[in-house]
Symmetry: C2
Subunit: 635 residues, 2 copies
């Protein structure tokens, strides 16, 4: 953490000074805002937390419920989500409270005695080196708490307005605040009172039955839901030995998924219930908690399950549905989008792969920096087209994956050597799980080339930083204090672009070496993106945060020989920032781990949402400038 | 973290339910308490946080200042202290905010041009494997904040009473509350008002000028302070390249120590100032901030130092003083101690080795569990004699170390090959630093054999768990969920004893193996300490927390085959605790790392303050029972 830049301030460094522009939280919703977020679930809060970092953006988030969530539904937190939490500065809180999913075990009917289940396999949950973070499980309500703390302590002092039902909206193109939203209060004291909000942008994060989605005439399309499942959080006593593992159980009596939960005692069971008819709703089946428990007990036989407390349970039908576009503008229309939808409002699927909450947060982490960049005049509003373009395509992949996965989960286990062609082979099931580990870790996303995602012409210079995928962090050593750190953790959710300059082997000693030449270009050239896009009065790294990584050990590198841009003076005192230059960590060399060309080095350009935008030669100054000119506006 | 044992509870698991016995915090100090703590510095707060874990103990902490500390003086946090913070559940907060000290660099006069300083050495600050935690630097005020949060959120809801001056105390042996303390309020609204508190025990954590110490007729004895030093926290611009390293500078113009601080910009400089005459006080020298800055600038020549802001500065004299006994009872008297002193009230020394705050907290971490055990009827009050016995002896070692270290720091650098016999050889200085790394990390403490520290007859069974030193954690894998964890981190500040049973190689399969036989003894024997010292209604692990560590990989170990004591049922639901059994972590085998005998295994008995009390054969049931009977009282 960096703090005290603009003067020493005692107390908790997470509690940032309120900006002069911060809007005091009032009972009434403000009449005019830059962004109105509808819904304070994971998607809405990720967006609100991102925008709250910019006190010059007026954000309002409204929520239909009366207050913060107490008991969440989602619980799985993928590696990729943990990486994002690190950008939001609360990964360590999640790591501490959460249950870690380290291995997955697989159970099937005993071949000799098919009424009994036996363990037939176990695999590591997340392949080594996939991410520096584990896959964990934590109540969604706690994730909300962390976001709410961040918003409350941030410069905007942002807090949700609860008890607001979204009624409708209208878009009148032309003015500064083209979207008018009608809300209705649902708190007892003001029930039925209407509020009108005018906004530059509206984002519907209001769930699978999204009223914002309906208001822009879009709908979820997909399979009908024909399989009922039950889910319950239990405090229970059992002799099933894998109750603290994620365990996929295929039994003669149906299927079940064990998800251990935080705190060491709580466990979630997903239990297969009835097949449903076409368009039949699960609510009509009258499935009770007692049915769920009885089904779980049958499936786990010969193991016992004695339920002591059920903090939460639900029944639901599985279906895979997706919206074809995530904003209100028809395909190929010239208009710029003003209303967006995100999260469950755009895509619904089974909870089995633990993707719902994670994917939803990635939606708005993608949208957040783009909205901020447009509102702050850094990028042209055409950038906003890329939100639906990028996120709808990757959601379609998720839906396809989930359809296959959910089907496997609902299938009977096939007997090995048994004659039945029906059902799924347990070994195939396990193999499918392993193959798709990268996807379920949230790391299957690759954005296609676009105005903000370069072509892979120079990908071979850094084969492990794949363009369009998230920047894969690795250990390095900071040369100014010999601290071992994770390079990717410099990428905070602050709307800045990162330029990671990996130096060629001879770069350090050579005055005309790649890193030094790049710094000279960025410092001095009239074409320099740093000069072109950074405003007077901003710190020199306010838009582009340049970091250099050398191949030499840190003791061989002298900070005093570095270009000024790598030891910049910042803030009101003009203090030096000593955290820009790194060397390899000898125990795990980032050049080896990520396939960076040792002779030439490479420049890796990373978006504010941690995705690799481009890989270029260090000397490709012109190409860098041209790429950024494709979507940025001169300061 | 373990939670939800007694039922699901939404929200922050750090916020524990208030106990029915918690005393609501009132404006007035309670008239009668079990323990009155005077002073809310690091020693007082460590003790208060420890006692706050036991709502059946009525604790009161008073502080002369008007409110919580905003700007601290101490800043260094040794590895050992981080291990203790882990027991108090806030190590991750410190790790995140603090500045890590990774390397130390050494500077001396340039031989060719003695007015210039040059770097002549650099060493790793903490030797590899010494602790799983780094040496860090963080404002003392933040450490206070973490303790205050813990106390406020704990079952006792304990908060300090500020603006109370300790006036005096009297001890009248015989009654239940033998100590009567007179306090005076210093807040404007009640200035001068007196309050009387009757206490079972009083602990003076009131600093070097301790009024509690004076009230029991003890004094600090030692060297006169004949060297003035200045210390200042700076936001500054410098071209001194090691400003983010801990750097010891010996120059022709005097000596200086650079301590980088949290946040990436702040730095502390300790600057050598004037020699003082016998009994001369530094206050009489009229040393100003400008003097300090000018001295620092002279010492750092040829590097520049441009000071932008000075959040805090001070001047002080170095002296090593210590109190001969830490309670009010004369040596060899029959009385049991009722009044204790801790921290700076007992020992003062230079801040150079970063020991003051750390050593003080270890004082009260030693005292806390003992007071709790006596007050809760678990141990006889004779146990309290061991506090002064243990802590005074190790403080004497610290004082001796610090005297030598401080002298080296104040000496001139000796020229290599120069004829002068005076001064310290810079290479010797660096070597001394390296040799004493273990001591400055807070890991030099070894308690001598006593009623609570066994003789080393079986030390060879686990040569790396040295009796009398702190339990040195190492990585293991929890078998019920394959989570890689640090074994020592199960040792929380909850007053419980840990029994680490390291299994012999053939133990797992053998029904009469060492671990299984030990469990049978602890579960069934009338001599079992678990049966003898655990009260009806308490969880089976409420006094002794048994953990087993097997040599096999976790996939080879079946939890269902473990003795009941390793899978105990707890809490109001009788839920199973799945966190008692571990296997080796193949990447760093704890048996190898700590020299545990692979054939026989070993039983390592660890005190509530994380120090190794005994190492025994697994089969030494009788010896274990006898050792514990030496100081524990039957339930």
């Amino acid at each position: 953490m960096q703090f005290h830049l603009n003067g020493f301030k005692p107390g908790d460094p997470h509690l940032v000074d309120a900006a002069g522009s911060a809007i005091p939280h009032t009972d009434a919703v403000p009449a005019q805002v830059d962004v109105l977020i509808v819904g304070s679930g994971p998607a809405g809060l990720t967006l609100a937390a991102q925008l709250a970092a910019f006190p010059d953006i007026r954000t309002c988030i409204v929520e239909q419920k009366d207050g913060p969530l107490q008991l969440g539904q989602a619980d799985g937190i993928a590696c990729r989500t943990m990486e994002m939490f690190e950008a939001f500065e609360f990964s360590e809180r999640v790591l501490k409270e959460a249950c870690w999913i380290n291995e997955v075990t697989f159970w099937k009917p005993d071949e000799k005695e098919p009424q009994r289940i036996v363990r037939h396999g176990r695999v590591q949950d997340t392949e080594d080196g996939l991410s520096e973070f584990p896959h964990v499980v934590l109540n969604q309500a706690r994730v909300h708490d962390f976001y709410l703390d961040l918003m409350r302590n941030g410069p905007s002092r942002l807090e949700p307005h609860y008890a607001r039902r979204f009624v409708d909206l209208s878009v009148e193109r032309g003015g500064d605040y083209p979207v008018t939203v009608r809300l209705e209060r649902t708190d007892a004291a003001h029930a039925g009172a209407q509020e009108m909000v005018r906004a530059r942008y509206v984002v519907g994060c209001d769930g699978a039955r999204s009223a914002v989605r309906k208001s822009i005439g879009r709908q979820l399309v997909g399979d009908s839901a024909n399989q009922a499942w039950g889910v319950m959080d239990l405090l229970a006593v059992t002799d099933f030995p894998d109750i603290r593992y994620k365990a996929a159980v295929q039994s003669a009596a149906g299927n079940l998924l064990v998800i251990p939960r935080e705190g060491g005692y709580l466990v979630r069971l997903y239990v297969e219930m009835d097949k449903l008819g076409d368009e039949e709703r699960v609510a009509n089946r009258g499935i009770t908690l007692e049915h769920l428990i009885a089904a779980a007990q049958r499936i786990l036989h010969p193991y016992t399950l004695e339920v002591k407390e059920v903090p939460w349970w639900s029944v639901y039908e599985i279906g895979q549905r997706i919206c074809d576009k995530y904003d209100e503008v028809p395909a190929r229309a010239a208009d710029l989008p003003r209303v967006f939808i995100a999260g469950d409002a755009c895509h619904t699927h089974s909870p089995k792969a633990g993707q719902g909450m994670n994917f939803s947060m990635q939606d708005t982490f993608n949208l957040g920096w783009k909205l901020a960049a447009v509102l702050r005049g850094q990028c042209a509003p055409q950038l906003l087209h890329t939100y639906s373009g990028e996120r709808q395509a990757v959601a379609q992949q998720l839906i396809d994956f989930d359809r296959e996965w959910a089907k496997m989960f609902s299938d009977r286990a096939k007997q090995v050597g048994g004659g039945d062609a029906e059902g799924v082979d347990p070994r195939e099931f396990q193999k499918y799980f392993e193959r798709h580990g990268r996807f379920t870790a949230g790391l299957g996303t690759q954005y296609r080339p676009s105005v903000i995602t370069g072509e892979a012409a120079h990908q071979k210079l850094a084969s492990g930083f794949v363009i369009g995928t998230r920047f894969h962090s690795a250990p390095v050593v900071r040369i100014t204090d010999a601290k071992p750190v994770h390079l990717g953790h410099v990428g905070k959710a602050d709307g800045r672009w990162r330029l990671y300059a990996f130096a060629g082997a001879n770069d350090y000693a050579d005055a005309s070496g790649g890193v030094r030449a790049l710094c000279r270009f960025l410092e001095e050239s009239p074409d320099s993106p740093v000069r072109k896009y950074t405003r007077a009065g901003q710190d020199v790294d306010a838009v582009f945060d340049l970091r250099a990584i050398f191949q030499q050990p840190h003791r061989a590198l002298a900070i005093e020989s570095m270009p000024a841009l790598l030891l910049p003076r910042k803030g009101r005192h003009g203090l030096r920032d000593y955290e820009k230059v790194f060397s390899v960590d000898a125990r795990s060399d980032i050049f080896d781990l990520r396939g960076v060309n040792r002779g030439q080095g490479a420049l890796v350009v990373v978006r504010p949402d941690q995705y690799v935008a481009h890989v270029l030669p260090l000397s490709a100054h012109r190409a860098l400038a041209d790429f950024l000119a494709g979507f940025m506006l001169p300061a």
